[in-house]
Amino acid sequence: MDGIVDVLQYAVDGVNQQQQATANNLANSQTPGYTAQDVDFATSLQQAIDSPNGGTASAVVSADPAAPATNGNNVDTGNQLVDAQQETLQYQTTVDMLNAQFRLISGAAGGSFS
């Protein structure tokens, strides 16, 4: 990880994976025996940013530890819907920041800043 564009690019990918996991959890909200999935990329990304030599980050898929209902399914529809909204906003914010970086680069290279 070197440079803010790399970090933001990684974050966009990570949020996209989180959104896929949320979509998958909600698609399976009625599937008997289904265990919800969580995706964490932020912890690993933070470590990569903090490491002096520029480490590599990776997204981790883990099982949601929530207790299952009587049909063995542990998807909390409310939580997942909130996650879906959050991830959408986070995705948009990260894309906005990437665009801002591109405008800076473009301006610094003699083009337009806006």
Partner: protein
């Protein structure tokens, strides 16, 4: 996973919820079926949902593995005026409870709405990605 994965996944959820709505609609429509004693009664239909995708990775959504058929013995009713009645005046009617079908229908509806809302969210996110560099 395809380019716009979340859309495919939410779409599979919408499909599954639609199948569930269809089976509940079919069950309610057939609640008052009457069968003669020597034939099977209408069996309650329930979709069987299974997750798609490989283990240890983000899943690919949900799919309907099949439609499970409930008890076809039905309930034996005394209805001598029915054209299907046997010499003892007995007929078979389906063992379908309207209450549980209505509950299933509401659950299927909420399931459909949740997936549709994820679809809309994912679309918004992907649209913002298309503004990159513009």
């Amino acid at each position: 996973m395809s380019l716009f994965g979340s859309l495919d996944i939410a779409g599979s959820g919408i499909d599954a919820a639609q199948t569930w709505l269809n089976t509940t609609a079919g069950n309610i429509a057939n609640m008052n079926d009457v069968s003669p004693m020597d034939e099977a009664a209408y069996g309650e239909q329930t979709p069987v949902f299974v997750p798609s995708g490989a283990v240890g990775q983000i899943g690919d959504g949900v799919s309907v593995a099949g439609i499970a058929e409930g008890d076809t013995t039905g309930i034996v009713q005394y209805d001598p005026s029915s054209p299907e009645a046997n010499a003892q005046g007995e007929v078979r009617v389906p063992d379908v409870q309207l209450g549980s079908q209505m509950v299933d229908m509401i659950q299927a509806q909420t399931d459909y709405q949740a997936n549709a809302s994820v679809f809309a969210d994912a679309k918004t996110a992907y649209q913002s990605a298309l503004t990159l560099g513009t």
